[in-house]
Symmetry: C2
Amino acid sequence: MARWEPNARDRLESAALALFAEQGYDATTVAQIADRAGLTKSTFFRHFADKREVLFGQDRLVEVFTTAIDAAPPSVTAVECLAAALEAAAFGFTPERHDLAPLRQAVIAANSDLEERESLKRARLAAAVAEALRARGTDELTAGLAALIGVLAFSTSYARWADPANQRPFSEIARATLHDIQACAPAFAAGSSGLAELE
Amino acid sequence: MARWEPNARDRLESAALALFAEQGYDATTVAQIADRAGLTKSTFFRHFADKREVLFGQDRLVEVFTTAIDAAPPSVTAVECLAAALEAAAFGFTPERHDLAPLRQAVIAANSDLEERESLKRARLAAAVAEALRARGTDELTAGLAALIGVLAFSTSYARWADPANQRPFSEIARATLHDIQACAPAFAAGSSGLAELE
């Protein structure tokens, strides 16, 4: 029978990240992670399918983003949908996760397979956001551009939030970041370069 | 000694794509591809490292894009850099490749590993474009946004060009597509939604 272990998930995550950082992701086994956390392998497997899931979770972002977009009233613009999705995503970025975020980022940056995983996760998120916007009647290119802006806003917000010096909550950072990206948009409008005349 | 085989690369590519479409990518061997093309396995390996390289080439896009951006005069805007990069990329999109493109797209769409590969290739291109723009002094977020717009312009142009009904050259399609994306940009500018007031 499974014994109840207080904070098992958090303890396993901290232990895993510490070991990944110390001895590398590839060299770390589930047995070592469980041992460092003072728990058993079977407790590990009650919380995570494998060691990669410690880093990438169950990839709930797609669900959170698309649910927020689907729930937005029809009158809401694509940018407002993105703002709602970022707001909905904020629940996952707790102070406890903030303390582990720099370690997580360092582990991913040190391993090209994990970087590819992170990159694919973001590409999948962009595809899902574009699809959710098209389902609301947003045209193809606007939906594609909005999805990329949403993912850029998310990944920039995450990096800003994960900074060890940061003390602002994710939702506040996400609003400011989306606003910063919006401030760049006019530079890409037709007529802002000589391109319009080429057509 | 290697015998000179006329159009060996094109013949191998056509044979490979036909076999991937007929019997699936995973089930196709290099021996079968060489056989279908009327060539030897060693001829295949003089042209491609493996069967995946038939689909993804040697990934020269990163080099083509970054060379074009690096070569642009300092006064050139980020959008103009993207236009120059797309123009430079057009050389690879010949009428011969156009005939094979729908087959290539169908093979990739049928295999999630290959879709991931295509997706990673684009993520890598975006990262390289952002880096090349930052090296010109473009600020972080504008470079990130420009890179995503460049990759969206590229992938949309590729899909439009690859359409069997299309007869326009890639460079013309790319200019029009970038212009179409620029036409979406004002919808994302600050003030176009209620977001600006949130800050």
